[in-house]
Amino acid sequence: MIRIALAFLVALVVASITAAIIQTQFNIAALQDWSVEIDWALRKEATFHDIINFSPTFAIILGTSLLVSLPVAYFIDRRRPNPEPIWFLVGGAVGLWVAFLIVDALLPMPTLIAVNRTLPGLVSMVACGGLAGYLFARVSKISSYSSHQSEGAAA
């Protein structure tokens, strides 16, 4: 149980920081499209700012989605003949995408996370959900893949 909780935390933190770093680069690119000069120092400062300030928002959305998507992925994984952490990766990604749809439908603003306004941006954020799912499976060793490996080693 501790391993699962730890895996959840690691997945959440790593994916949220990764998402913050990625979305900062998209936002800076949008400014550069209007000929705004962003030097390396400012890019670093902006990225650090967003890691501190954006990651918690992302973590709330991602964490909530994982509470649903990871059990579903586990359910599917257990029923596959050749289970793999890929189901957790897919579950994390699809779960986050659905969470974005729900959040944007509920909140007054059309798109809460600005980077999600474009397809490349949305794909990159959803991929962070996949990263969270995959990390959770590997660190927790909850996937039948890990169990299968263990059973194979024991045999």
């Binding site: 936002n27 400014l31 400012l42 700012h49 300030n53 928002t57 992302f58 059309p110 798109t111 600005a114």
Partner: protein, 355 residues
Amino acid sequence: MKALALSVLSLALYAGATFADEEITLSVIADDLNQPWGLAQLPDQSWLVTERGGRLLHIDANSNATQTVALNLPNLFAEAQAGLFEVLLAPDFEQSRKVYLSYACGVASRNTTCVSVGMLNQEATEVSNLEVIFSGTDKKGAAHYGGRMTWLPDATLLLTLGDGFDYREQAQNLDSYLGKIVRMNADGSVPEDNPFRHKEAPLIYSYGHRNVQGIVYDAERDAIWQHEHGPRGGDELNKIEAGKNYGWPLVTYGIDYTGAYVSPLQKLPGTVQPLLQWTPSLAPAGLALHNGDLWVAHLAGQRLQRFRFVDGKWQQSQDFLQERETRYRAVASGSDGRLYILEDSPNAKLLAISY
């Protein structure tokens, strides 16, 4: 009966309310207003009040009688922030009876800010002969329309527009009306001396705006004052000048609702700095000049702020009505010397204060 009850209520609750350094009297002129948005005073001192859902009301400030004005706006889109916005009388209203109405038009997947002009009959019971004179750049979603209007002394009309929320970069695009203030002749045509003549958006007067919710022309100082919403923080009070870039989203004192930077920059050559900025946001939603002072109504800030012009600068002098814990949508100067304020709620009041 209703009018009498309102009068008694206003006297009982508000008369003689004392504030920090000034005594004001607050009266309830009308209640049961559903998300009112804009107001304009007729020559007989009665009021036209818009409701975002699309209703136009005629309110007698003396008898407190309220009646619905028949209005059939073409293609009105009312949802979330979208709907009927401002009502403004033509400069020659007493002769022409023309009223200007700004509103969201279209459907959820394709909508924009429109302006129609129509004729108000003598009894103020109907607006007829409506004609669309402006239609902005289409966008998806129901957020950030601007919608405030004011006349300049040369009888050209200024209309504020929003960035549509999802289209913030378009505030810098001079071929789009998103995130702009536009200037047009009374019939919607392009004034000869507009600063930009881009083919797709020839009415642009200034750009780099997020969601302008207040604008007023100050004849005494020959200046245009405006305020606009920032995201989280960075609401701005600006002096608007033709052709200037007010920076959004390249520079801002606010951050995104997610906590991320919209931009790490607060200043940039070629962009105009605000006269003052509100951080955290108070969400200014109405602007009026009254007795030489600038009055700002706030939504999230739930207060009315007065600014005085001292040594060439606006200085905040006093906050009012905070104790009522109500959002305020609009403020207007009455020809009877009172200041009129619209609350923002599904059961809102039209208030008048005198001091």
